[in-house]
Amino acid sequence: MRRPTPLHRSLLAVVAAAAPVLAQDAQKPWDAMDYGPCLCTTVEGFSGDNVALKGRVIFLGDRARRDSAGVVFDSELLRVAAAWSDGHLELRGTPFDGAHGPIPRATGARVSETRQLPGYAFAGSFADPRPLPHGPLPREHGRFLGHWFAGDRVVIGYEVQGRRVLETFDSMRGAGGAVVGLQRTFEVSPGPELRTVLLDAPGATGGQSLAGGRLGVIAFWTAPGDGGGRFVTEVEACGADGSEGLGVQVVDGRVVLTIPARESTLRFEVGCSTVPSGGSPELQFDDAMLALEPLTHGGPRRYPETLRTVGRLGSGDGPFVVDTVTVPSDNPWKSRLRFGAFDFLDADTAALSTWNGDVWLVDGIDADLDQLTWTRFCTGLHDPLGLKVVDGVIYTHGRDGIHRLHDLNGDGECDFVEVFNNDVLITKGFHEFAFDLQTDADGNFYFSKGGPVNPGGRGFQKIVPHHGTLMRVSKDGSRLDVVMTGLRAPNGIGVGPHGEITVGDNQGTWTPACRLSLATNGTFCGCVDTAHMEAAPTTYDQPICWLPMSVDNSSGGQVWVPEQHWGPLAGQLLHQSYGQCNVYLVMRQQDWRGITQGGVVRLPADFASSQMRARFGADGNLYTVGFKGWQTRAARDTAFQRMRRTERPLHLPVGLAVYTEGIELTFSDVLDREAAEDPESYGVQVWNYLWCEAYGSPEYRPSDPSIVVKEGEPNRDELRVTSASLSADGRTVFLAVDGMQTCMQMRIGYDVEAADGALVQGEVHNTIHFLGPRRR
């Protein structure tokens, strides 16, 4: 092969420089996206055991590329977990590159790093006061308040022992212009003395004051032979009371800053850098020190562009059509629009959150959908798969808890991401998704959280008390309680008109099949690893029904049809399947003890993406969103759609009751008597699942559970329909069935005709917990 000439080389360099960018955009959309100036995520520092679980990554360089410099603030431990220069945040994990296991991590040159311990001392100690190394610090120790956007500048706020601290971050450049350090600007309200760790300096032996800083430069050397690094911390302060009392010391391998007690607000800057032995940082502070409080009243818009799309009205001759609210997939920020939750701000405006942390507003949701306008309202939230509007304010539920999004200056963009409740305990598990957000009539919030499933699907990583639970946060955000346990991947919940709490779950370890459950305090859904009980449970609370893989292999949320809409479906429960992209009607039957059992029938509507969340609009139509993030038959990456009832008849079962003698199915419309009374028009099968720690369960026939699996055919018992009789009103069929029994799963196939000649074909999948005599 010929060696390239210099000219060739330069040409090759041009080609090589151009190609990767294009390839990267196309193949790595997670790298191409502009996440905004702050990304809330779980981040690994330079050492693998330093993880900021509820990290705020603030980009200090070119934010679109997330490179050159950045800082991770740990909002639980109130510390700068790590800062880097000459590197970037490597985006790894489920919402980014899809990998199961890895999480985002800092790369590049280490500017500073701290151990996974509180950033502020309490009662003289930096020891972790929490019973588990998860969750926020005790409130008396400190608490995170949220972050503000002031243009591209981010201000974070927290309280420590009664003092309110505002902070912002900047890169510090050395004499040569390169980024070499992190500048932290503090504004601390009056209060007692505080001590905070600036960076870890393992082996540091002490330091000396150097000339040049406005307060003074103090340098610390590591012990000889320890990598040869030199940690430099420079502190500058100014303010009404001057800088007296600010000081830096080495304590137990940490560089600790003392913030003196004050009776008025104290402002100061701190510079931190790590430079090679023998080098000189020559840190350069900005000339003027910023006042931070004025930056917490709202900044200019960062995303002024308004994007227009035209929706598409569905067609068809069925009882429903599906309209599409077209999403602006092609947007200036290459934001990946995978909508995981939404709510309405008013009749024709919705707020939608994306898996990668955006909240978008879409206006113009009217009958025609022909003038839709989209704006980017907020960015950088922590995988928010729950969103609820309360009194005109958007609340999101992400992995880091519930946040309130405030537009402080009314310019249509979020300026303040306020912590509403961040008590939830999390780990870095890739599978502990934060699902859904709903409220009850009293204003309490509900959401669910996945269990930290192992990569590959089986078993779990480290479990903490909120894994696999459904939780409630009080209306004022002050209190978090676990309502139900034993969940595995409960992607979606529902709150009924009478306070009914429902949740779906999908098959996996200790979860033999998808289940739809009603929750009351203490309900245990069966996943032993997330039972959070003293002794391992030996039984579980029954669901309304189990669902086989073909019906639902991965559940979404639930929603109740408003009383005034959809005729015979009014007041009924609907369940979404994320995996099968369907919406099901849930037909319920309750016994005298209050136990609910039921079954589902698919509503005839085809959706473009998965079914995760649903809400009824003011127009009485059902709106749904979903995306493609794990296994689903969804075709599109995301879709925001409207399921609209037409004038045409439903031709569906709308009521199900089972008895010792057989099955009663009530249809929406009058049936043709001849077909309806032919027993051959129906097929009834029953089977069970095995509750065990294996991943999901095969089917077992009740008549002979020793038959483990029927390869190539369903392993079910067929029950004989001996007769079928139609009620006088022509809508209710009673099937006399031999061998009615309690079972985990029943399939009732029907193939009849309506009185209008239409074919009425389909299947009901239900569960039988109780059977009683049919009283006529």
Binding site: H100, G457, Q580, A634, A635, I707, K710, G712
Partner: protein, 710 residues
């Protein structure tokens, strides 16, 4: 049941082709659960057009799994009829799963007529490469009488495939589980009887003494084990016990008891001594002569002791328990090939069991024990495990005289079957025996020792003798000169115990049925769980549709061991069957009515480019989430892995691919693959205006563009 063949024998025959079942429930307990009244599949009668001629019956009936057939030109449609034009008539019941409107379609060439409950629902004539559908008919649930008559063209090349569809499912070949027939049908009983006799002729190595002339039936090549080096492998005491009475050690042993001789005890001692004196041919495990050890785990040297605990894991992972067990898990409900290993420790000399496991066919090419490509370590561990459980013993035996044994060996004609030096003495040739009805009641076929004289004692039952006589009477000699791939396959599915690991026609594999036997091993998780829970990802593919699913050339290469498994995650290993691979692959194809493999796909680059995009997560179906693609690992594997899409083009037939893509669950109810197409054949993706079939076809084109299309 009529006829002379016992129920249990015919039952075994039926099981051989994966058959006997109650339509509603199949139970694995062979003794308890087999309902004798209904059998799966159909009765197929073949009649050469033009009537009976020498060497050919006028009519021959066998069980057929499917309403499909391919007969190559110049080949016989059955071993008992001559090649040439023929009529095929399938009779039985078609189980209609639900009241629905059904459409039947014919694919192939010739004349075809299908009647359901006496009404003609499809008629066709001529050549139809694409299915020709009849009018839709409404059928009620339940068993419907089916008669299908097909006349092959004069060339004698027969091609017929019958498909059905309904409002509930798309066009597909009618599955074998939808068919049932009366096993007591006299023509079928007669046909099965002559087949049983024919197979007995082969498996009892009758041809060793009674030369059959033309011998196309592959099983005629069967011989007894090569005894060279037997003394290095087998313990003398066990040899004596075996020679004394093989059926006492293994009830269905194929080796005859030795004929009446003077001083039988002495003869046994001397024969055992002679065989034990055959030394010097065995190579120790790991000597390099048997191929390199892929795992390179032979650092411990030849004499390393195996680890019984590790051997238990191999036992579980490779499904040894499907066919083998020990006294403590007993033969109750065991499958036909079940063999106790209680005496395995007494049989093999130390280390010889591992050598045998490494290369079971080394001294017996037709041995039923599969070659699972064990490493040296696995073989040693397995030997250690088997020895730890193998508690049986044989009585000690006084030393015999090898020289006298050699004499006995020659006198008794042992060399007829065992390839130790002496040439096989040919007794009476088969044709002359068959022509002499009296001969068929004497010698080997005699009912008692007196009439048997000096002939070997095969322990034949009355049924088996009847089968051999029927075979002899019904053009048996001529039949041995014909090999019909479909029938070879049917026999070999049993002979090779394929159903031990694979499901066929709804019959659960013995592996699954016996997974509970692993409880006593106290193994964690893998292969099977103590609670009987099954890892779906570890299921071996069912063979029911394999001839319709896989290309013939791929099946042949895979069965021969030339092609790597597309399911590397399976603990189970497919045994190599190089000698039978071709006929097995051909049998599968012909049974499903496929003559040859599909022509290579002329890749349309534009379509392929669309297909490339359709497999991705963004803008596609996300196939790459669970499937590797030309070695690129799946993006986010979760619980169940899909086959590398790079292996699709080499394996699948296009029609099956299309059916799978449109509705995976229709083919495999436990499939984890999501269904992307609606009942109306649409998807939500844009290419080809949402036409699912066109989109899947684009992927098909891309897959055929090969790795270069990446």
């Amino acid at each position: 049941m009529t006829g002379a063949v016992s129920r249990s024998r015919l039952r075994a025959l039926a099981l051989a082709s994966g058959a006997v079942l109650a339509i509603a429930a199949v139970h694995l307990d062979v003794e308890a659960g087999v309902p004798p009244e209904v059998a799966s599949g159909l009765a197929l009668t073949i009649e050469p057009l033009g009537g009976a001629k020498p060497g050919s019956l006028a009519s021959d009936t066998r069980r057929a799994r499917l309403l499909a057939l391919h007969v190559p030109r110049r080949e016989a449609p059955t071993p008992f009829t001559r090649p040439g034009a023929f009529r095929a008539t399938w009779r039985g019941a078609l189980e209609i799963p639900a009241r629905d409107d059904y459409t039947f379609a014919f694919q192939g060439s010739g004349r075809f007529r299908l009647e359901i409950d006496g009404a003609v629902v499809l008629e066709a004539q001529g050549r139809h490469d694409e299915p020709l559908a009849g009018a839709a008919v409404r059928l009620r649930k339940g068993a419907r009488q089916l008669v299908a008559v097909y006349e092959a063209p004069l060339s004698g090349q027969g091609d017929v495939r019958v498909l059905w569809s309904s409002r509930r499912f798309g066009s597909e070949p009618i599955p074998p589980t939808a068919f049932a027939h009366d096993p007591a049908d006299p023509a079928l009983v007669a046909g099965e009887l002559r087949r049983a006799g024919r197979m007995l002729f082969a498996t009892r190595r009758c041809g060793s003494c009674h030369a059959p002339g033309a011998a196309a039936m592959p099983e005629l090549a069967m011989r007894g084990p090569d005894l060279a080096g037997a003394g290095d492998r087998l313990e003398s005491a066990w040899l004596a016990a075996w020679i004394r009475a093989p059926r006492a050690l293994r009830p269905d042993a194929r080796m005859p008891h030795i004929a009446a001789v003077d001083d039988p005890d002495g003869a046994v001692r001397d024969l055992a001594a002679f065989v034990a004196a055959q030394r010097g041919a065995a190579a120790p495990v790991g000597d390099g002569a048997e191929g390199d050890d892929a795992e390179g785990d032979d650092a411990e040297g030849d004499d390393a002791e195996g680890d019984a605990r590790a051997g238990a894991r191999v036992w579980a992972d490779l499904g040894c328990f499907a066919c083998h067990g020990f006294a403590d898990d007993g033969p109750a409900g065991a499958p036909p090939t079940w063999r106790s290993l209680d005496l395995a420790g007494a049989k093999f000399r130390p280390g010889a069991m591992a050598r045998f496991l490494r290369e079971p066919a080394r001294h017996d090419p037709f041995i039923r024990m599969p070659d699972l490509a064990l490493s040296d370590t696995e073989a040693r561990d397995l030997e250690a495990f088997v020895r730890s459980r193998s508690a049986g013993s044989v009585p000690a035996v006084a030393p015999g005289d090898p020289a006298r044994g050699a004499q006995r060996y020659a006198e008794l004609g042992c060399a007829s079957c065992h390839a130790v030096p002496a040439p096989a003495p040919v007794q009476r040739d088969l044709a002359s025996l068959c022509a002499d009805p009296g001969a068929l009641t004497r010698g080997c076929l005699a009912a008692d020792a007196g009439a048997r004289g000096s002939a070997p004692d095969f322990g034949l039952t009355d049924d088996e003798r009847a089968a051999l006589r029927a075979f002899a009477a019904d053009e048996g000699v001529a039949s041995l000169g014909r090999a019909v791939a479909i029938e070879v396959l049917d026999r070999q599915l049993d002979e090779r115990a394929c159903v031990a690991c694979h499901q066929v026609d709804g019959q659960t594999s013995w592996w699954l049925a016996r997974a509970g036997r692993l409880e006593s091993l106290e193994l964690p998780e893998r292969a099977a769980r103590a609670d009987g829970h099954v890892e779906v990802a570890q299921l071996r593919p069912a063979l029911t549709q394999i001839g319709d699913k896989l290309r013939r050339d791929w099946t042949a290469g895979f069965v021969a061991g030339r092609i790597e498994s597309p399911r590397p995650w399976l603990h189970a290993r497919m045994p190599r069957l190089p000698g039978l691979a071709d006929v097995i692959a051909t049998g599968f194809a012909h049974a499903h009515g496929h003559a040859a493999d599909p022509e290579p796909v002329a890749v349309d680059p534009a379509r392929a480019a669309v297909g490339r995009g359709l497999i991705e997560q963004q803008g596609g179906f996300g196939c790459v989430t669970c499937h590797a693609v030309f070695g690129r690992q799946p993006a986010a594997l979760f619980e169940v892995q899909g086959i590398d899409l790079g292996r699709v083009a080499e394996r699948l037939r296009p029609a099956w691919y299309r059916r799978w893509m449109l509705d995976p669950e229709r083919i495999e109810p436990a499939a984890k693959m999501p269904r992307f197409a609606t009942d109306a054949g649409r998807t939500a993706l844009e290419p080809f205006d949402g036409d699912a079939a066109a989109q899947f076809d684009a992927i098909w084109h891309w897959l055929h563009a090969g790795a270069g299309g990446r």
